[in-house]
């Protein structure tokens, strides 16, 4: 069965890059443009992995991560942060909330695949 990956980022460009990165793999990519939409999508889709930005309008990634980890039904979903903000305070706060990995922008698609592959079993699509 295909893996479900939820990409939460206010930038359509980043969501497109994430979708392109996993194109060769047996994955379904769901998208959300802010933390509020991301929480709703997580509850609805029950993804196998969330790839989450920090600075977003409406609800930021740190707030979404906190709410996700407070929800008994969603707290086990692994999260990889994908953000340009990697200050000490941000990294420490996010790490305390519980993330599986942290990828700083700018990034290469291979880096994202490598980190995702350590968290969920990525399987290439049959040719």
């Amino acid at each position: 069965m295909a893996l479900k990956i939820l990409s939460v980022d206010d930038s359509r460009t980043i969501r497109l890059i994430v979708t392109r990165a996993f194109k060769a793999y047996d994955c379904i990519i769901c998208e959300a443009a802010n933390g509020e939409e991301g929480l709703a999508a997580a509850a609805r889709e029950k993804p196998d992995l969330v790839i989450l930005d920090v600075t977003m309008p409406v609800m930021d990634g740190v707030t979404m991560l906190g709410k996700l980890k407070d929800d008994p039904d969603l707290k086990a979903i692994p999260v990889i942060m994908l953000t340009a903000e990697s200050s000490q305070e941000n990294v420490l706060q996010i790490s305390r909330l519980g993330v599986r990995d942290y990828l700083a922008k700018p990034f290469k698609e291979e880096q994202l695949l490598e980190k995702a592959g350590r968290v969920v079993p990525l399987v290439k699509k049959a040719a």
Binding site: D10, S11, R12, T13, I14, L16, I17, R20, V54, T55, M56, P57, T83, A84, E85, S86, S87, Q88, E89, N90, V91, L92, S95, D101, Y102, L103, A104, K105, P106, F107, K108
Partner: protein, 243 residues
Amino acid sequence: MQQSADYRELARHYGLAPVPDSVLRLTQLVARQDSDLEEITQLIDQEPALRKRLLQLANPGAKSEAEYELDTVERAIFQRGIGCALLLAMGTPLAFALAKTFQTMLALKLETLTPQQLKPIDPPCFLGTIAFGGKAAGTVCLRMGASSATLIAAKILGMEPKDLKDLTAISDAVGELLNIITGNFKSNLCDAGLNCRLQPPKVWHTSEAYTPAVPGVGLECLGFRVGQIVLLVDVSVNPWNEE
């Protein structure tokens, strides 16, 4: 100290690459209102890239190094004041982040333009701005011509430039580029003790030409080029904002 050690451990675990120590140290020194000019001078003098840019900033009218009136870091700092070092501390992380973004996501090596090479941008232009507030407050602006914006967006999106007609997609790519460089810049300010928050980026498509500003007190202007792509980045900042 413990927090710093925890961060270093996490940074190693996540594979996060920090800005160069010299840049972080310079920002820390400039962030203090009672900065020691001698310490700042020594630090800049030891780093060729910082030294070169400082002398450019201190001699805005000079066309070459031979025309520098202030030809040492010491003379530049003592005569132009801490404003020069401040601009250096703000502009260097931005330039570093932009170069890294182009290299990582576009496989392109940006060349830094000297102030004399900065030329007006013909319309139509794309202008992206991000405001930041907190202990440091200011604005970062990214400007480029429509053809540069299209080339960048097409490369990021994996498309042919001629096939990219969607202005919203181009604007979004410009906004994300700005978001990435400003996020890295903000991280450097926060790590130096100048905690601040970023506003979401705003991007405009404008029919007005843009003439590069002259760097001065509280304003740094940087230019970059690779092939037909030309970018201008301005940063205006008040580092000791009262919030």
